[in-house]
């Protein structure tokens, strides 16, 4: 199957559909998502059966032109993207804001994202990420709220600045290696004797990718972009569930490419741990539903980075599996948060209660997603967290417990919306919202129970999940939840200091300063200790 169909397909359908009547476009969109999902499944099967698929676009000689390549990781990400998109589009089937322009832009992002996962050319990826940045900022500002305009502008400009770093990094790569193709870059990095000449390209590219992935000093743009009040909920879900993973995916690729010369795992391990811990500390202070979820995304990204950089095989694949798991439950949480906010007319967590009684289906989906994210046994989060944990021993294992405790604490706060007396208001229910939510919640359970065959098939890695581990886990899990609930109820519920932390905001020059400082720190660290 030609891989370029994954890129051209969504863009073509978006262009044609734009000129159709709105209701036709919706059906075309739904059909196209089903077709794309089928193509992605067959691609995944192909790659597992016959090995990596490599295709040259435009008939150029290898290395000169752009190559599209689907390997284990790439094809898994393609499947993940199409699956999440299907859920999002079903969810928004009856929403008012999805006019033709919105659906056009939303579908173009899909094509662009897929091309990032398939492309082998680093300049091509630069172009695609620029396109993605522009479209996302337009979608964040879709309803033109005052706050959303500011958040969208901040998102756009800081990402453009980071992509300038990326472009200069591409220049350095071309100067030192003479190629822009991932495969050829990997080969030539291994041949370079003076590894210090690779410090600049490495630091520039990793700074840009770090900002895209929102690791800690660079993540202050993320919560407001993902959690801005008036952004459509499927945009928030796509951003937090899917598009932030583009940064992490690029991190994995670049880490592999430079691994022969520069491997700064310890640095990113520390950065990941800091991201995870600061992320949940700030999340606890928030009161807005969407902001809590957005800061929790930061924390989870930290956990993924910890897994990827632990140096252990199981923990690495645990991190990759957590990318997929986090995508499912965080997208679901954002979607349900949107539905809840619409029903109650507020996003303030203190003014929402009795969700179970008022919206039973959305409430159930929220509970299942929460159980997934805090790592309940038999849910998907537990498997990836367990795999990440096996990469550590002794004192370092405590780190994972601390991060998981933090996540549990966040959602102890979040789950206060579930209970309480029923206050009636009859609103017509939207079957598409309910169906999509329940399907994603079911996926959380399936990815937990069938984790071993799924990981085994998707990544060709045999992870050993010991039989007795569930017993241990139940005890540890029960303790974590009990302590977190107690800490929240007795210490944090009415604490005044939370307000001061909540109101810390960085303005643009400060964020740019953090970006520059991170670049300087990374290049000095790599120059002194690694290269």
């Amino acid at each position: 199957m030609p891989l370029y169909l994954f890129v051209i397909g969504p863009v073509f359908i978006a262009t044609v559909g734009y000129f159709l009547p709105r209701i036709w476009f919706k059906y075309v969109l739904l059909t196209s998502q089903l077709v794309l999902l089928g193509m992605a499944v067959s691609l995944v099967v192909d790659v597992r059966a016959a090995g990596t698929v490599l295709q040259q676009v435009g008939g150029w000689a290898p290395v000169v032109g752009i190559a599209l390549r689907a390997d284990l990781l790439g094809s898994a990400m393609v499947l993940f993207t199409t699956l999440i998109y299907l859920f999002l589009i079903v969810f928004s089937f009856r929403k008012q804001y999805t006019d033709n322009m919105f659906q056009f832009l939303f579908l173009v992002i899909q094509g662009v994202t897929l091309s990032v996962f398939l492309s082998q050319d680093i300049f091509n990826i630069y172009v695609m990420i620029e396109v993605m940045t522009i479209i996302i900022s337009v979608l964040i500002m879709w309803k033109r709220g005052k706050q959303a305009l500011y958040d969208g502008t901040l998102y756009l400009l800081i990402n453009l600045a980071a992509m300038s770093f990326f472009l200069l990094g591409v220049g350095f790569v071309y100067r030192s290696l003479g190629v822009l193709n991932f495969q050829a870059m990997t080969e030539r990095v291994a041949m370079i004797s003076d590894t210090r000449s690779l410090v600049m390209p490495y630091a520039l590219l990793m700074t840009a990718v770090g900002l895209k992935a929102a690791i800690m000093p660079l993540s202050s743009w993320l919560p407001h972009a993902h959690g801005t009040p008036s952004a459509p909920s499927i945009v928030s879900a796509a951003l937090s569930g899917l598009l932030v993973k583009v940064g992490i995916y690029m991190f994995i690729r670049l880490r592999e490419i430079f691994a022969a010369a520069i491997l700064a795992d310890e640095f990113f391990l520390v950065v990941g741990a800091v991201t995870a811990i600061l992320g949940f500390l700030i999340a606890i202070t928030q009161r807005d539903l969407k902001l809590i979820l957005a800061y929790s995304t930061v924390s989870q990204i930290g956990l993924i980075m910890v897994g990827l950089n632990s140096g252990s095989y199981e923990a690495f694949w645990g991190g990759v599996y957590h990318i997929l798991n986090h995508g499912v439950f965080k997208a679901l949480l954002f979607l349900t948060a949107g539905a809840i906010a619409k029903e109650y007319g507020t996003k303030d967590i203190n003014r929402i209660s009795g969700l179970f009684a008022r919206m039973p289906i959305v409430g159930t989906a929220t509970v299942l997603a929460i159980l997934g994210i805090i790592g309940t046994p038999f849910f998907n989060g537990s498997i990836s967290k367990y795999l990440i944990q096996t990469g550590f021993d002794g004192a370092h294992e405590t780190l994972i417990y601390v991060i998981n405790f933090g996540t549990t604490l966040i959602f102890a706060k979040y789950s206060t919306i579930l209970f309480g007396p029923r206050r009636d208001r009859t609103v017509p229910r939207d079957p598409f919202v309910a169906g999509s939510s329940i399907a994603m919640a079911a996926l959380c359970i399936v990815m937990g129970i069938a984790a071993r065959p799924i990981v085994n098939y998707l990544f060709a890695v045999d992870v050993t999940v010991e039989g007795a581990f569930y017993l241990d886990k139940f005890v540890a899990f029960g303790l974590t939840v009990a302590v977190a609930a107690a800490v929240y109820y007795f210490l944090l519920r009415r604490a005044a200091f939370l307000r001061t932390i909540r109101e810390i905001r960085f303005d643009f020059p400060n964020i740019a300063l953090l970006l520059t400082a991170f670049f300087a720190l990374l290049s000095v660290y790599v120059y002194m200790f690694v290269a």
Partner: protein, 122 residues
């Protein structure tokens, strides 16, 4: 390691482009005006583009156009790529400025810190 030659040979495409790039970074960090932020990003882009164009260029190279001497031709690949990057730069500035206009109309200021104060004081 530190015996950098200070002389006319230091003024080449690469040092100049790096200088331009970091002037852009300086503007990004110090300027509070949104228009100046957009200009700074443009300056950074220009620096990066100049860097890529001057990669692998020797004195006396001819532009890779038409039927010029194959051996004395400059490397055509970065030049082809940078046309794309220039086009992206233009569209990006256009989008940023458009968004800035609507931001300015809503908030009535072009200063980053004032916008934050106005959002918080609501």
């Amino acid at each position: 390691m530190f015996d950098v030659p200070f002389g006319p040979e230091l003024i080449n495409g690469q040092t100049v482009s790096l200088l331009i790039f970091f002037i852009g970074v300086f503007g990004l960090v110090t300027q509070r005006n949104i228009v100046k932020t957009i200009i700074s990003i443009n300056v950074m882009d220009v620096g990066a583009i100049l860097f890529l164009i001057t990669v692998n260029v020797r004195a006396g190279d001819v532009p890779p156009v038409g039927e010029s001497d194959f051996l004395r031709m400059a490397d055509p690949l970065p030049q082809a790529l940078m046309i794309t990057a220039i086009v992206i730069g233009i569209s990006v500035s256009a989008v940023s400025l458009t968004i800035f206009i609507s931001l300015f109309r809503k908030h009535g200021t072009s200063d980053w810190s004032k916008i934050i104060k106005r959002i918080e004081s609501r």
